[in-house]
Amino acid sequence: MPDWDLRDKACIVGVGSTAYGVFPETDAVGLGVEALRAAVEDAGISFDDIDGVILNRLPYDRFAEVANLQTPYLIPTEAHGRFSAIALMMAVEALATGRATTIALVYGNDGRSSKMKYGGGAGFWAPWGFTSPGASHAMMFRRHMAKFGTTSEDLAHVAVAFRDHATKNPAAVMQKPITVEDHQNSRFVCDPLHLLDYCLINDGGVAWIMTTADRAKDMKQKPVYVSGYARQDDFSQNSYPADDFWYPALQKVAAQIYGRAGVTREDIDGLMIYDNFSPTVLFALEGMGFCKQGEGGAFVRDGTLQLGKGRWPTNTSGGHLSESYMQGWALIAEGVRQLRGGQVPPERQIPDAKALQFLLATPVAASIILRND
């Protein structure tokens, strides 16, 4: 039995997104429905065609009530951004097994206007003043600095590249160009991480419509195939900053993903890297084998991730650091638009993009390869 039988079996045929910002006039459900309406229209389907729903960060029962989605298949997922990848994988499996034919995947977030706090409050390490995902990543990055000689300035190159992309994205929350010096001069939130190493909490919604490859052939948009994916969890350090940067788990994913997708790394035209904090980008690149472990800092210098400059244009929308923290969902939407061609401003288009790879460095290590042919 082959180790992988899901290559190119499912497609993303619709994507939709709201504006990103502060929208106290609505809420996560409202934003999710707005994104879903856009995705339904983008896919050229009707709401009646949807027979499966996978939700992220949304109250499932209220969402189904408000969006008026009465289906035989609805699955809610937890608020963590890792569920962007997990949701997509679940949809592929549900489509392949015939549990559903047309799945709406919806993300809604009103974290900014609801003043969602990442840090403070209860927690095992709170008595020692340690809190927030950013601080945990700062702790990991200090270890990386000590072990490999990586520097804060290395991270600046990640932030600068993504911001450059955001200047070409009217939807991006931050569009003012920044320099390495701007990054270095931005205030510390948790030393060694500066403000410009952090993602942008905003309100917004993103939705994808997925269906089988057979159905996708005759639909409105050029289909984007899910060619392969792989996932390896490691929750063994869930209560700590991971001391291994999730490297072993990511290596396992790297060993599987290309064979499953039927491509080599050299076939990949661009990347979407889950950038909750800039160090995660280095951890992902190292773990997925784009460079050796410890060399991520040197790897991202000189515009390697920058469109028009480097070999690996990454987060062409600006990503979580400069577009908005839509927890992976908007990164995938950007990837779909890139692969369709002609749906982003020409200066933001990855020339002749055929294959893009999504990288996720978290306790759920995962990768997804999307293709258009």
Binding site: F188, C190, L193, Y240
Partner: protein
Amino acid sequence: MSYVKPLPEEDKWSGPFFEAARDEKLVAQRCAATGKFFFPPAPVSPFTRDTNWSWAELSGRGTIASFVIMHQKYFPGFGDEVPYPVIEVELEEGVRLISNIVELGDRSLEVGMPVRVVFQKATEDFTLPLFRPD
């Protein structure tokens, strides 16, 4: 003056850790079958998935595995102290603790610095394990 920093969340698993700290002892659970320590406190050993574990005292010695300087005011009780350092200590027995450094003097924090536990009474009920250079 009342203590304004966050207090530990003592529950049935972490309770003995904080009880021991009141007696100025640093303890962790040790898996009987493997002899390995594990932390934070849990109902079963992650190595055997069973309840065959017991509390055992740690040497209190370790090294700084990493550290950060918190600049953001997340807790009112720490508000006046920002920026303040937080250290990740890898203890000789293999378990890690997130804690604070005391008695640093004019030394600067460094990964690899040897440290030893000290205890600071926070309230009548809570004593926190902290670390000083060893």
